[in-house]
């Protein structure tokens, strides 16, 4: 707002300065044209125009339709003063304008920084939110993966345990079988031909008695 006011003031001052410059210019033009009319054979000045040359030796001629300066006014001094005023006004306006521009630029810069900061903060906020979501998703996925791995590990451990148990049973059974066979072979080898069937008589008859029914049935069915 201040920037706009400064700008308007600057423009007004500038406009005034332009008007003053135009007036000075018009005055100079009138002055030169008055000197030309005073030459021999020239046209007389316009009716009602005040000219310094005609009425006063050093007074400038009034511009057509303009206001004739009163006598005794020092035109160069006025020009000098107008120029100084104009330059001062222009310089003041330029300085103020410069300050306003500087302030506006500063505020604009601050605004841009603030806007940028807001945008960046918003983006950062979104980024943080998305990052948090991604992190949660990753953690969830990791947790699921860990659970799956633990389940698989348990399954494998159970499988390995079962397989080990089966293997152990198999090896034990095989060991028993081999041991039994080894013992049987050892006994057979040890006894050799020295088997005392007389000592086995009771066992032989007992075995026959124990399976008498089966043997009898088998021999009966045979025929």
């Amino acid at each position: 707002m201040i920037t706009m006011t400064g700008l308007i003031i600057g423009l007004i001052v500038l406009g005034l300065a332009v008007v003053v410059a135009l007036m000075v210019r018009a005055y100079r033009s009138d002055l030169h044209s008055g000197q030309g009319a005073a030459a021999p054979g020239g046209h007389p000045p316009a009716h009602g125009a005040i000219t310094a040359k005609t009425e006063h030796q050093h007074a400038p001629a009034p511009a057509p339709g303009g206001v004739a300066l009163p006598p005794g006014i020092d035109t160069p001094a006025m020009e000098q003063m107008a120029k100084a005023v104009f330059e001062k006004a222009v310089n003041d306006a330029a300085g103020e304008f410069k300050q306003d521009v500087h302030g506006s630029s500063q505020r604009l810069s601050d605004l841009i920084v603030r806007l940028t900061t807001n945008v960046v903060e918003e983006e950062l906020k979104v980024y943080r939110t998305e990052l948090a979501s991604a992190r949660d998703a990753a953690l969830e996925s990791l947790k699921q993966m860990q659970t799956a791995i633990e389940d698989k590990q348990k399954e494998l451990e159970q499988g390995v345990g079962t397989e080990m148990a089966h293997r152990k049973d198999y090896l034990l059974e095989r060991l028993d079988t081999r041991l039994g066979a080894a013992v049987a072979a050892y006994i057979v080898e040890s006894l050799g031909q020295g088997v005392d069937l007389g000592a086995q008589r009771a066992y032989l008859l007992e075995s026959l008695e124990r399976h008498k029914a089966d043997l009898k049935k088998d021999l009966t069915d045979e025929l």
């Binding site: 039994g180 006994i187 006894l191 031909q193 069937l197 008589r201 075995s207 026959l208 399976h211 025929l223």
Partner: protein
């Protein structure tokens, strides 16, 4: 004619041999009868040239038939019928059984299982001991080896108690 086989005659080989021998003896008797030599053995004792088993079989006949060729021929024929149709078992032992043990086993079988049962004895030291009985349909293994191998865990259990 039906008779009870003596326990000393229990195998197929013995029965086969006796049947053939008795056929031959009957033929000899017929030949002698044709040449009037039948009275050479008036007491009816079987001739000494026959095997002990054949002599025992002939002694199963009544005394006046022991020199009768037809009776001996019939006896031989009945032995062949036993060979063809009689029940039989094979007994395997770890060693050669004594005559007394063989007789006892055959007596037990003919008394408890079937009369005139033919029993063949085999020897297999690998069974370590006990008896293996094979009929036409089945094998009854009561050998020590089978007992040992039937329950191999018994050995490891026994080791646990050592």
């Amino acid at each position: 004619m039906s008779f009870k086989l003596p326990t000393s005659i229990h195998s197929q080989d013995q029965l086969q041999f006796c049947a053939e021998e008795l056929h031959a003896h009957a033929a000899v008797l017929r030949s002698k009868a044709a040449t009037h030599h039948a009275a050479a053995n008036p007491q009816g004792h079987p001739p000494d040239e026959l095997s002990l088993d054949s002599q025992i079989l002939i002694e199963l006949l009544v005394a006046d038939k022991r020199a009768d060729a037809a009776a001996i021929e019939a006896l031989a024929t009945e032995l062949e019928a036993m060979l063809a149709h009689g029940a039989r078992v094979t007994i395997t032992l770890a060693a050669l059984a004594s005559r007394a043990l063989r007789t006892e086993l055959v007596e037990w079988m003919r008394m408890n299982l079937k009369a005139n049962l033919l029993v063949d004895f085999h020897v297999n030291p690998d069974i370590a001991g006990g008896i293996v009985i094979r009929t036409t349909n089945r094998v009854y293994d009561f050998s020590f080896r089978h007992q040992l191998l039937a329950d191999t865990k018994r050995f490891t259990k026994a080791l646990d108690h050592v």
